[in-house]
């Protein structure tokens, strides 16, 4: 039913979007927690920086990534010299691009949920001898699950659909970085390939829907557990 190239693009997209979410999950939660529960100097600045990928056109972000993480970039140079890692034009690079673009969405959703967690419960946990880490992992994060799920699914969807930054930073290399949206782009560039494009379009939708349903299901379960008597 699907061509090899299509399967390849799907597998690649999933791998890249999954990795993207994977690598930003922990830092995203950490940053969201910092922003939600702490006051420090430069908080606004950090907050602003986080939102850059959202505000700038993706192509610009991709370009900035290329400038910094490219082999001649200040960070990329270092990465290559010391770790032998080269990100541009690889699927890892695509995951980085996707992650960067998805980061603000993840942080925002998680932060929103963290801020909604009742600090009274955290204080109660404190009186029961839990240090701030235990409080974080046993009270705050579990109660922020809806936000974590929302954040993760938004991030996954964003990474899955990421195009501009990816094509600029990681290029459009079949089997390496040609994800669904890039494949779709390639088709759409070509007059007369509308039906093939439509197929990919539907595929993207199906994948997104599935991930969405999964997250909804998880969120519902999480919410049901917390159900109080007033609904």
């Amino acid at each position: 039913m699907l061509s090899d190239a299509e399967w390849q693009a799907i597998a690649l997209s999933l791998k890249i979007a999954g990795s993207a979410v994977g690598w930003i999950l922990i830092p995203g939660i950490a940053v969201a927690w910092l922003l939600a529960r702490h006051e420090f100097r430069g908080k606004s600045l950090l907050d602003g920086l986080l939102h850059l990928p959202l505000v700038l056109p993706p192509v610009v972000v991709g370009y900035l990534l290329l400038l910094s993480l490219g082999r001649h970039g200040w960070l990329g140079h270092w990465l290559y010299q010391w770790l032998g890692v080269s990100l541009p034009f690889t699927w890892q690079g695509a995951a980085v691009a996707g992650g960067v673009m998805a980061f603000p969405l993840l942080v925002r959703a998680v932060r929103l949920s963290l801020e909604a967690v009742d600090p009274k419960l955290e204080a109660a946990a404190g009186t029961l001898g839990a240090n701030r880490w235990r409080v974080l992992f046993t009270i705050t994060l579990p109660l922020a699950v809806p936000g974590l799920l929302t954040g993760a699914v938004l991030a996954f969807a964003r990474a899955l659909s990421e195009f501009g930054a990816t094509i600029t930073f990681a290029s459009n290399i079949p089997g390496q970085t040609r994800t669904l949206p890039l494949a779709l782009y390639t088709l759409i560039q070509t007059p007369g390939k509308e039906s093939a494009a439509a197929r990919l379009c539907v595929l993207s939708i199906v994948i997104a829907m599935l991930s969405l349903l999964a997250s909804e299901w998880l969120a519902r379960r999480a919410r049901q557990r917390l159900q109080e008597r007033d609904r």
Binding site: V59, Y63, L66, L67, G70, R71, H72, G73, S86, P88, F89, I167, T168, S171, N172, I173, P174, G175, Y185, T186, I188, Q189, T190, P191, G192, K193
Partner: protein
């Protein structure tokens, strides 16, 4: 099998895919095409993309690459294209040759727009601007332009009937079932539309050399011709 990475302008996608398919049938080599806008590709190559061959849709980005001290070698003009005026398939606009008696603007109606590639950077747009200037319609048409991100976007507007007329490459016009060619811009109304090709690997593999040579050959050119390109040395 060896791998050869070919960075080609997105407008060549179809033709290039066909050429590669044909080449791979008779050669034990893995040709990997990478499509994006010429500018994106050029920037990536300047930043160390593993390109063996680069085919740009215009000379500017190839020049730019050379300025960046990229290892551009064996540069040559590979293909030519023509600039055409298109209208939706069902359009009532009669065929005419731009630059003749019929003014384009007169065919646009009251509020119709002329769909082109962005005239400052999209190659098709740049050529369109040159052409319009040379036939003396630029001033009248400039406020009536709809600038697409690329040729394809420009054509989509015409296909959908949002714009009554558009300027695209002949190759694009040929590929679409939903537009028809109203007329071809005179060759001398704009700089020649050439697709320069270069090898970018300072130490090209044999496969690269072979493929590059094949691209220049008759087999390849006949395939490209089928998609509406003209070989550079055809005339």
């Amino acid at each position: 099998a060896d791998q050869v990475q070919v960075y080609a302008a997105a407008s060549m996608t179809d033709a290039m895919n066909a050429a590669i398919a044909s080449y791979e049938k008779s050669h034990d080599v893995d040709i990997v095409p990478v499509y994006a806008s010429s500018s994106t590709l050029a920037r990536q190559i300047a930043n160390g993309a593993p390109a063996d061959v680069y085919i740009s849709a215009n000379e500017k980005w190839m020049d730019w690459l050379e300025d960046q001290d990229a290892p551009v070698s064996e540069r040559a003009d590979l293909l030519k294209n023509r600039l055409v005026l298109i209208a939706p398939k069902e359009s009532q606009i009669p065929d005419f040759t731009p630059g003749g008696d019929t003014k384009i603007v007169s065919q646009l109606g009251d509020d119709g727009r002329l769909s082109v590639g962005e005239t400052s950077h999209v190659p098709a747009g740049i050529y369109a601007k040159q052409a319009l200037e040379s036939i003396g319609e630029w001033d009248a048409l400039q406020p009536r332009l709809a600038n697409g991100d690329n040729v394809r976007a420009a054509m989509a507007l015409v296909e959908r009937g949002e714009a009554p007329l558009g300027i695209v490459y002949e190759t694009d016009a040929m590929a679409s079932q939903k537009v028809h060619e109203v007329g071809v811009f005179p060759d001398d109304s704009h700089k020649p539309i050439v697709y320069p090709l270069a090898v970018l690997n300072p130490d090209p593999s044999d496969s690269t050399e072979a493929f590059r040579r094949w691209l220049d050959g008759d087999d390849a050119l006949s395939i490209f011709s089928k998609f509406g390109f003209t070989p550079v040395d055809a005339d």
